[in-house]
Amino acid sequence: MSNRARYACGSMDHALSRRRFLGASGLLGASGILGGVASLPSKVAGAIPKNDYRVVVFNMHGGLSQLESWDPKPSTNTGGPFRAIATSVPGIHISELLPKTAKQMHHLCLLRGVNTAEDDHGKGAYMMLTGRRQTPAAEYPQVGSVAAKMLHDDQTGLPGHIIITPGGGGGRGNEAAYLGPKFNSIHLGGDKPPQNSNKPDAIAQEAEERRHLLRRKINEQYLSQRRSAITDAYTHSYEQALKLMERREVFDVSKEPQAAQDKYGNSELGRQCLVARRLLENGVSFVQITHSNYDTHNDNFNFHIEQVGEFDLAYATFIEDLAERGMLEKTLVVVLSEFGRTPNINLYYGRDHWSKAWSVAMAGAKIVPGAAFGQTNKEGTEVVDGQVDHGDIFHTILRGVGVDSSQSLIVDGRELPIADPAAEPIWKVLV
């Protein structure tokens, strides 16, 4: 049975992902040449001041229902069977499927007026992760790549951009676009360390060191004549892999006290959250956790009981843990999807794709805690106040970790704004 998430609607998104992946593993040759936006090296207009902020994105793959999470509409035609419950913030209610998260509401900020006007999985995901609409004219970097470039300190010995996803096999993603392959993600498969990151026992340490010495020597000879962005990327990948091997224990949640492991729960998502916390502690700037799958055209309510229940424990524990460790002040945690789900309940107790009125949750860093911004109408079909879109959210994520989202990168002489100039940060949710 394939581990790859399958959409109910037969979308080709995963086939595209595979092609992207294959493109990436053919390395990086294609990256940076997309849509006429030229390749490395890129420079920020002015120095990039690194800071110690971090970003975590929970990607609720397939489209989390806002009505079964952040914006319940109980006792309405669209509300479904679940009730709303009080939270730690008076006046803010969320779905009863999130009882543990409700106790962390004082850390959270809900965006309940999201309207992205895009009901296609792939396009919606692209928009939410890049802050732009997909266009043949250009390829834009995902938020993880931007965060890695703007925030990450290479001295940590760990990659700046990590995506934890079920079925991820330790390869590299292809999300950096013109930022260059250095900022592509490393994929972790579930809650396991990167594949092949331990030295084979058959190779002695001395032999290992000699191998790398030889490789570096040959590299230097080659680079002295033919250095390019691509060769730099190769070199960086090798050196990063070596550093990662040295720090492999960071990915090992068994190093955590049993009590901590128990607290996060006996689920893959719980262990992934624990890995994420360990990565953040060790200097990784961006971690994306995929929770799959929410594309519930059929039996939406039974599935949301299962999925949101699993998410609730892991996510609430993660937020509480970061807060208790003092890390939440410097870590922005975003819960997003490619879109929400229809207020209308279909024939099969399902909900379909709905991008006109849905929700995103944020917490930590420079985000106002304990707030709900934006409002939908009584049955959740339209935004009536505080409407925002993917571009606004992208700006807000960057501002939330101290990055001036109005700045541009200079790539081969071209000025490329890091966020869509047509959008702007949601200032009301920023402290």
Partner: protein, 329 residues
């Protein structure tokens, strides 16, 4: 005495509520049928003239309904975990008793053969037995490892059966609540690792009036549960030894799911399929693997009840209608 002929089944009445329907049950006399709907309400329908009375009291959807033996009380179980006893024969029925019975959804309530006991099951994986006339809790025990979807008393009055998401059917001895044995209905469970989805379950349990057979209904072949790609399946077990004697598959009903099965008599079993192929009544016997008759309904159905003495079938539909069909010419 009505001479049944299911091959002549036809819709007698259809009455519209204000919201898509979820569940329905006949009163013991067959004079009324009660339905539930997505607006958290219940409707009592007078079979003679279709007169509707609305009942309000639940804060969530109601999947579970049963009448007491005398038919003067209805017990409903809601997704908020509440059991409500209703004085159902009054002009405007009132809630006699309300009990916060379960943590989360109640998925099944049934009355024991002697009428003295009520069982409720649901997502908290606990079986609870109640004294029907007082609402006193008699016993409770953690019984399954996953959501309990259905329950049925055996006609011998000595045993209770419960079925869960994983397709596990437990047979309990009522006198001491010990597990007598389990029946394997795992083919009704369709986990899908790619979607990280667990799907299926024993959506309905039924037992033949003579007690010789157990029926478990639901779905199988859930290759894309999120997209409603699955097919109806009905399993037939021998009560004496628990052996699976027949798997009734239903060809040509893609996206189908049997929401309920009920024994019309010792020879004929009735089931209703919902899903993307619409609403279909199916009739099975012990000799044929496939149904011997099917009857299409005007809209997707989500629940069904039968009244054998009157030869009637009630179906609850997504298009907000309660339909009453005759099983005679």
């Amino acid at each position: 005495m009505i001479e049944l002929d299911v091959t002549k089944s036809h819709v007698l009445h259809q009455w519209k509520a204000d919201s898509p329907l979820i569940a329905c049950r006949f009163s013991p006399t067959g004079d009324h049928c009660v339905s539930t709907s997505q607006d958290n309400r219940l409707q009592r329908w007078n079979i003679a003239d279709g007169q509707k009375v609305v009942l309000e009291g639940h804060e969530s959807w109601v999947h579970a309904l049963t009448f007491n033996k005398t038919g003067d009380q209805l017990i409903s179980g809601g997704c908020e975990g509440r059991l409500i006893w209703w004085s159902i024969l009054e002009a405007q029925p009132k809630a006699i008793r309300s009990v916060e019975a379960h943590a989360g959804w109640i998925r099944g309530v049934e009355i024991s053969p002697d009428g003295g006991m009520l069982v409720s099951v649901g997502n908290d994986q606990v079986i609870r037995l109640w004294k029907t006339d007082t609402g006193e809790k008699l016993h409770e025990w953690p019984a399954h490892e996953r959501h309990i979807y259905s329950a049925a008393f055996h006609p011998d009055g000595q045993h209770l059966l419960t079925g869960d998401l994983l397709g596990k059917i437990c047979v309990w001895k009522l006198s001491d609540r010990t597990l007598v044995r389990t029946l394997d209905a795992a083919t009704l469970y369709s986990p899908n690792k790619g979607q990280n989805a667990e799907f299926g379950g024993v959506r309905s349990l039924a037992i033949s009036p003579n007690g010789n057979e157990v029926y478990a209904a639901g779905t199988h072949k859930g290759s894309n549960p999120f997209g409603a790609v699955h097919e109806p399946l009905l399993l037939r077990f021998n009560w004496a030894d628990g052996a699976l004697t027949k798997s009734h598959v239903c060809d040509g009903i893609p996206g189908g799911l049997l929401y309920r099965a009920a024994a019309l008599n010792d020879a004929t079993l009735t089931a209703v399929s919902g899903g993307s192929s619409g609403g279909i009544l199916l009739f099975f016997n012990a000799t044929q693997e496939k149904e011997f008759h099917r009857a299409g309904l005007p809209s997707l159905a989500r629940d069904m009840d039968i009244h054998p003495a009157k030869g009637l079938v009630a179906t609850a539909h997504f298009d907000q209608h309660l339909r009453i069909s005759a099983l005679f010419a």
